[in-house]
């Protein structure tokens, strides 16, 4: 298995290479300049700026210089935040997003699997239907609607939690809950659907016929199989949730990496855009690999190849 993991990791290098190439070229081919401002900059100053950032000369040359730096672990400097390297920006903002994201991920798994399982047992009963309705709402209501409503209720009206900010543990609760809602809802629906399928299978009937308690049937046998589609979803979802969310981090004033995925492209900042895309792609590859390994551990029928 080690050899296999290594092979997957080695294969991810060309993938990352292609991703970063496309990102850089796309940002550089957008009309406008990262140094544009309302005031026209004298030609001499603009030339110096472009030289400073290695954004002068033909595009292939800019690209070659950038890739040379990337190959040496240097993701270049931000054109927007002039005193910061991209490495520095990622190093400062990624841990914040990972902290918030892991809390949200934990909540999503906890509530998603519990509620999904509970709904499956009470299939078609009142509880199942209301839970699935809530889950449907959770999936369909975007966070830019749910988050301000939550802030309004819990922070402004009830004064239970701070409205925004970062730095103390109570400031993480509301954003983590808001961030987890759509994921928890999706996991709940996946768990329920998959569990209902599994509970119809022959081996469950056998287990019940052997006189096992309903808990043992559910937790020891059914869930183990039913969890497989959830794992398949959770891999890519982890990459998304851990690299931050522009909506949540902007609304709660959290200094994470999420807003950069959109704002750096709007600022035409080629290096930050490529840098954060690189981070996201790495996370995606890594968590897909982890999900595959987990598949293998949970279900021995799966062969890693």
């Amino acid at each position: 298995m080690t050899a296999l993991i290594l092979r997957r990791l080695v294969l991810s290098i060309p993938v990352l290479f292609i991703v970063i190439t496309l990102t850089f070229l796309l940002v550089r081919s957008a009309p406008g300049s990262p140094f544009a401002s309302e005031k026209k900059i004298p030609k001499e100053i603009r030339e110096q700026l472009e030289k400073e950032y290695d954004l002068n000369g033909p595009l292939w040359h800019q690209y070659a210089q950038y890739m040379w730096k990337v190959g040496h672990g240097d993701l270049s400097i931000s054109t927007q935040y002039r005193n910061r390297t991209v490495n520095e920006i990622i190093a400062q903002t990624l841990p914040v997003s990972v902290t918030l994201g892991s809390m949200a991920y934990f909540l999503a798994l906890l509530f998603g699997i519990t509620c999904g399982g509970w709904a499956a047992i009470r299939h078609n009963e009142w509880g199942d239907r209301s839970l699935m309705l809530i889950a449907l709402l959770g999936i369909s209501i975007p966070t830019f609607v749910s988050a301000p409503v939550m802030v309004m209720i819990f922070a402004i009206k009830l004064h239970l939690l701070p409205v925004a900010g970062w730095g103390s543990p109570d400031q993480i609760i509301l954003p983590a809950i808001c961030l987890s809602i759509p994921f928890a809802a999706t996991i709940a629906r996946l768990t329920r659907g998959s569990l209902l399928e599994v509970l119809k299978l022959d081996f469950i009937r056998t287990a019940r016929a052997k006189g096992l308690s309903e808990d043992a049937v559910l937790f020891r046998h059914a869930l183990k199989v039913a969890i497989l589609p959830v794992i398949g979803y959770c891999g890519p979802a982890a990459a998304g949730i851990l690299t931050g969310s522009i909506v949540i981090e902007t609304l709660f004033g959290i200094p994470g990496i999420g807003p950069f995925f959109v704002n750096s492209a709007l600022d035409l900042d080629p290096f930050v855009t490529s840098g954060v895309v690189l981070v996201f792609s790495s996370f995606l590859i890594l968590f897909n690999l982890l999900a595959d390994i987990l598949y293998f551990v949970v279900d021995r029928r799966v062969k890693l190849e």
Partner: protein
């Protein structure tokens, strides 16, 4: 059945243990990596609008960066709470009768925040750095007023000793201007002309602006700077006078609703920026005791592309200007009490009378349009109205304008063209539009900041419009030492701009909105330049 019982026991134990473990791990992670810092409490917290791009005063261009820079650095002159120019690092100055030579006398004993003495040569060397193209300062043109400033700044001259700034001794700075500049003392209070500690800049390069490294000379020093989280500044012990507020925390929150929530829940004392006030609330909170607004030297206007049909015809441009119901836009869309603008220069410049401009007159507009060959808007070619999609307001304003011109002139062929900010700026600079929704914030407290934009081929003209007479008048105004006469020339120039030739339609003047409770923040007075120096702030009822 025994199996089932032990399973239950097992389960009862596993879930809480798992939860507790996860919580401990999580808190540990949060503590070590998530930025759980207990910073020193601040005496004043303010929302500044966004994360500063840099805090290097020579490089900074934006207003929100400028505010922090002017707390950390100080030029020869500074401003009081009312916005008037007062002595800063220079204790007094005099200028020659022709207005070309300024002699500044620095305060004695002034120091940098590390205790180094600050001398006149610090100014000379800092200005050399800012002007040098290698520093790529986008605002270096603020030093083009100096003799040979532009030549050095554009690399045509390599010998800085020929530039009009000299330090004959430690406390004296002699500046020679290339032409009389009525607002020169305004420029010396601006961040671009603040001195920097060159030894620190050389030592740390790009990193010199970081806490623990930055050496500054203003009322405050940089204490902490957590990227996108907060900036903490603390009173500079070496500043030439004590400041009333010891520690100020600056939040870079860029979402207006979040800013308002933070202020509303008393986690911030002051919202400085109009953009940090949610536009949907602007109107509703106007009467609240914490909402303060003031006229502000900025104007929203429309640029015509005069090189393209049909706007190459001044009658068409005038028709569109006369038919624009600006009152409708400020009461329906912007809603913060903005005055409508018929002139480009906002009212309030000392000694300046703006021309009357073109007042809303749809009948006259229809007549002019018919005269130009488009009676009732018939046959009017397809044109686009460019705007930036930064925030919702520009799009709403553009949509309203489209409807107003249809209503009053019958023109149905104006199409909206929204672009991302960076792309919009590029399109405007290439003059690749028909109509463009633009705005200008005055750089200094003088009408020239608006009027010299439209000189032939000026970098900020961006309309294709050119008038030799206008250029000559500008040159004449620059060599006129008599202030009243100069203002008259500028007013005549503006008349050409907004009444006769109309390459632009002024729409409305901006108002600055700030939120604070008067019993919590003092020393914050509305001023026309929207420039509030933090050294002037105090907390009412609290002795410094």
């Amino acid at each position: 059945m025994g199996g089932s019982a032990s399973f239950r026991l097992h389960k009862a134990f596993v879930v809480p243990a798992f939860l507790a473990g996860a919580l401990v791990l999580f808190l540990a992670f949060f503590y070590f990596f998530g930025g759980w810092t207990l910073s020193a409490p601040a005496d004043l917290t303010l929302c500044n609008g966004d994360e500063p791009q840099t805090l290097d005063p020579g490089i900074v261009t934006g207003q929100l960066e400028g505010r922090i820079c002017l707390a950390l650095f100080e030029g020869l002159t500074t401003r009081n709470a009312k916005g008037d120019i007062i002595p800063g690092q220079a204790e007094r100055w005099e200028h020659s009768p022709d207005g070309l030579t300024y002699t500044f006398h620095l305060r004695s004993g002034i120091k940098w925040s590390n205790g180094d003495p600050l001398t006149a040569s610090d100014f000379v060397n800092s200005w050399e750095r800012t002007l040098n193209p290698v520093t790529h300062s986008e605002y270096s043109y603020q030093l083009y007023y100096l003799v040979n400033g532009e030549a050095y700044g554009t690399g045509k001259l390599n010998d800085f000793s020929q530039v009009g700034v000299k330090a004959p001794d430690e406390h004296t700075l002699v500046i020679t201007l290339s032409h009389p500049t009525a607002y020169f003392l305004e420029l010396t209070s601006f961040q671009t002309l603040c001195p920097v500690h060159l030894a620190t800049v050389k030592k740390y390069g790009r990193d010199w602006v970081k806490p623990g490294r930055m050496v500054s000379n203003g009322p405050y020093v940089l204490k902490e700077w957590r990227f996108k989280d907060y900036i903490l500044v603390e009173a500079n012990p070496y500043y030439w006078r004590p400041v009333p507020v010891h520690r100020i925390k600056v939040l870079p929150t860029n979402n207006a609703m979040t800013c308002f929530n933070i202020f509303y829940s008393h986690k911030a004392d002051l919202i400085l920026d109009t953009r940090s006030v949610p536009s949907i609330l602007k109107h509703d909170i106007k009467e609240e005791p914490y909402s303060h607004s003031n006229p502000f030297g900025a104007t929203s206007f429309i640029r015509f592309n005069v090189k393209r049909k049909p706007f190459d015809d001044p009658r068409v441009r005038k028709a569109l200007a006369l038919a624009l119901d600006k009152q409708d836009i400020v009461t329906k869309i912007t809603r913060a009490g903005e005055p409508i603008a018929n002139s480009l220069c906002p009212p309030g410049y000392h000694g300046y009378t703006a021309p009357r401009g073109l007042v809303y007159d749809p009948a006259e507009a229809r007549r002019l349009l018919a005269e130009a060959g488009y009676p009732g808007g018939r046959g009017f070619p397809d044109v686009n109205l460019l705007y930036a999609t930064r925030g919702a307001e520009p799009q709403q304003v553009a949509t309203e304008m489209q409807a107003l011109w249809k209503r009053d002139l019958g023109i149905a062929s104006i199409h909206l063209r929204g672009q991302e900010w960076g792309v919009y700026l590029n399109t405007q600079q290439m003059v690749d539009f028909d109509l463009s929704l633009s705005a200008w914030i005055g750089d200094y407290n003088d009408p020239q900041t608006f009027i010299d934009m439209f000189v032939t081929d000026g970098g900020n003209n961006q309309t294709g419009w050119s008038d030799p007479q206008y250029d000559q008048m500008l040159a004449k105004s620059e060599s006129t030492a008599d202030p009243a006469q100069r203002m008259q020339i500028l007013s005549n120039m503006e008349k050409i701009l907004v009444e006769d030739e109309v390459p632009v339609i002024p729409v409305y003047f901006w108002v600055g909105i700030s939120l604070y409770f008067s019993d919590k923040v003092g020393g914050f007075e509305p001023n026309f330049v929207d420039d509030h120096r933090w050294g002037e702030f105090y907390i009412p009822g609290k002795k410094p």
